[in-house]
């Protein structure tokens, strides 16, 4: 069962795909029914609902709608019983993307935060930079306070999924 699953890297992002039958394919939990409506040896026209996609294979390179495709398909090796390969991160450390000074800390320990919620304001390059929560979860540790000068990549706080 599991070996029909594949791990696809497309334009720098990862997807888990799994063909359901000849007509349907599951992408990250969403099911699509791509139909190859026309094809020559190296040109394929695919429809999904009202959308059309033209895929070309030119000298071993793929082009979607004329734009070069960066895709890599690998077998999916599941790691049963471990969370480390699950799709969503269960823990995240928030690092300073840039050296600067902590202007505001908008969360407190054990506070629940939503993904993309503003958690810190870092003053760097003369600007107020908003730092957002990378995942939904609970603030487990805060290592800095207002006024601290932080270095690039310094860990500022940690968030864990409940």
């Amino acid at each position: 069962m599991g070996n029909s699953k594949k791990r696809v890297s497309y334009h720098g992002r990862e997807f888990i795909i799994e063909p359901i039958d000849e007509n349907q394919i599951n992408i990250n939990g969403y099911v699509f029914a791509p139909k190859v409506v026309q094809h020559t040896e190296d040109r394929f026209k695919v429809t999904i609902g009202k959308y059309n996609f033209v895929l070309e294979n030119i000298d071993g390179k793929l082009y979607l709608e004329g734009e070069e495709v960066d895709i890599n398909i690998k077998p999916y090796i599941g790691n049963i019983g471990s969370n480390s390969h699950s799709f969503e991160l269960s823990k995240a450390s928030v690092q300073a993307p840039i050296p600067g000074k902590i202007l505001q800390v908008l969360v407190s320990p054990s506070e629940l935060v939503e993904k993309d919620q503003e958690i810190l304001i870092l003053e760097a390059m003369k600007m107020r930079n908003r730092i957002l929560a990378p995942i939904t979860g609970k603030i487990t540790e805060i290592f800095i306070s207002v006024g601290d000068v932080v270095a690039q990549d310094q860990i500022l706080l940690r968030i864990a999924k409940d």
Partner: protein, 501 residues
């Protein structure tokens, strides 16, 4: 056509598509063009196109395109008659304009005093009120203390926005929803203003929730004539950066006529010459004056499309002391134009700017399709500047026509080598809200663009995977390097980019 001999050569203090655009207008007027460039831009199109060019050396934007002493030095060396600042960089820098004038050269833009007055938002509002333009309820001048801020906020009601008096381009602004966060925001905004703009003065305004962004293009000459060239709507924005602009706006023509007249009064009163744009917010049937941008704007081509007037050529003419070539009653708005800003950015990854080598460009064509750009195959998009790499402009007899032309053009437009936001535009114009012209500044959130794009990406992965599996396609690993995870340095680039505008 030739310009008055006062301007025989122009130094273009900018880069990218606008530098190319200015070179074209100069050529048309038989004006000699002089470009300048930083080291990363040595292979940029404006450098290749210009008649003469000077290096700004290497370094940050501050050390190159914002380096006034270096640029003034080049101005002397090149002996250009005039300077065109384009948009961004030094275009709204009164000190630079003054130094150009002091060097005995023409600054293609309003006088330094006018730029200064407009840069002071409180002064600009006072003048706006004096010609009858409506403004947003606000503090009476600067707000210096927290106590004062609290009083003003209570008077005009939350939400409010704290703005740096000398700020601009979406920087130095803080929205406050409740008294709870007022102190932090107020002090934060003061400290940022101090550091970023060198002046800590801030003021407070009522925050207009999800307005529509309307603007009036105008142009004045050195002889006291001012005309307006109609309106534009630029509501579709992403973190204060315009994404799609249209001309004309949805406003009824009587309102635009009235607004245009008042804007011309404002410009005349200020002694404004050259091109400018007055920005307004529209909310619940009410218009509020926001600010005047004393320069050519990114979206000027949509006005050119519906008026048939070349705005950059007009800028050169009025700078050369010629009177305006058009009277107000000769300005007719014909059709509907839309501009799509094509950025090198990944719309899925929080619009992080992308850099890389352009491997392929296919530029759409046909009647009423225009593409202003500076990229070409094998050009390496540098990572130190604004992410704008091109502007697709289309025109139709009606808005509906313009949209259908845009759909075709966006499908044709192909850029490989860097990730772009072309798909973002395709997704936007497919929505019902865009079609129905329900556009407000929160448009992208409202339509949940992130979800639309994700779904679209899933479909693409489905289509490609299906074909690859069905036909057992073997492909070579791509050399594009999209697969490398977006690094922290892109984040820095994004921060840098915000500084430029």
């Amino acid at each position: 056509m030739t310009l008055s001999p006062i301007i025989r050569s122009v130094l273009i203090v900018n880069r990218g598509e606008i530098a190319v655009r200015i070179i074209r207008a100069c050529r048309q007027q038989s004006v000699y063009t002089i470009a300048l460039f930083s080291k990363q831009d040595a292979k940029s199109l404006h450098v290749k196109m210009a008649d003469e060019c000077y290096s700004l050396g290497t370094g940050t934007v501050q050390e190159t395109y914002l380096n006034i002493p270096k640029i003034i030095d080049i101005l002397h060396k090149s002996d250009a008659d005039a300077v065109h600042p384009g948009y961004g960089f030094l275009s709204e820098n009164a000190e630079f304009a003054r130094q150009v004038q002091d060097a005995g050269k023409i600054f293609i833009g309003p006088n330094p005093e006018v730029i200064e007055n407009l840069g002071d938002k409180i002064k600009a509002k006072t003048i706006a009120v004096s010609v009858g333009l409506p403004i947003v309820p606000s503090s009476d001048g600067n707000v210096d203390t927290f106590e004062e801020a609290r009083e003003v906020a209570n008077r005009i009601g939350y939400p409010i926005i704290i703005k740096s008096v000398f700020g601009g381009g979406g920087r130095g602004m803080e929205r406050v929803n409740s008294p709870r966060t007022l102190r932090d925001a107020f002090e934060g905004c003061q400290s940022i203003s101090e550091q970023f703009f060198g002046r800590c003065e801030v003021f407070i305004e009522k925050f207009i929730e999800n307005p529509r962004h309307i603007e009036i293009q105008f142009i004045g000459d050195n002889h006291g004539n001012v005309i307006h060239l109609g309106d534009r709507e630029c509501s579709i924005q992403r973190s204060h950066q315009k994404v799609i602009e249209e001309a004309p706006s949805f406003l009824d023509r009587d309102t635009v006529e009235q607004l245009g007249k008042q804007v011309c009064d404002l410009a005349r009163k200020m002694g404004y010459s050259n091109a400018g744009t007055a920005e307004f917010l529209w909310s619940d049937g009410k218009l509020y004056f926001n600010e005047v941008n004393p320069r050519i704007q990114v979206e000027h081509p949509i006005t050119e499309m519906i008026t048939g007037i070349d705005l950059v050529v007009e800028q050169l003419r009025v700078a050369a002391n010629e009177p305006l070539h058009h009277k107000q009653d000769q300005i007719k708005l014909v059709g509907h134009a839309i501009e799509f800003r094509i950025n090198a950015e990944d719309p899925h990854a929080k619009n992080l700017p992308q850099s890389g080598k352009i491997t392929q460009v296919i530029i759409p064509g046909g009647s009423n399709v225009r593409f202003d750009t500076f990229i070409y195959p094998n050009y390496i998009v540098p990572n130190s500047f604004d992410s704008l790499i091109g502007k697709l402009i289309v025109k139709g007899a009606t808005r509906e026509d313009a949209i259908s032309i845009a759909k075709i053009a966006l499908k044709e437009l192909t850029i490989s080598g860097v990730q772009t936001n072309i798909e973002l535009h395709q997704a936007i114009i497919e929505t019902r809200d865009f079609e129905k012209w329900n556009t407000t500044t929160d448009f992208l959130n409202k339509i949940n663009i992130v979800k639309i794009l994700r779904n679209y990406e899933h479909m693409k992965v489905a289509a490609i995977s299906q074909v690859m599996e069905m036909f057992k396609l073997k492909v070579q690993p791509s050399m594009l390097g999209y697969s490398q995870p977006t690094s922290k340095s892109s984040w820095r680039e994004s921060a840098l980019r915000e500084q430029v505008r």
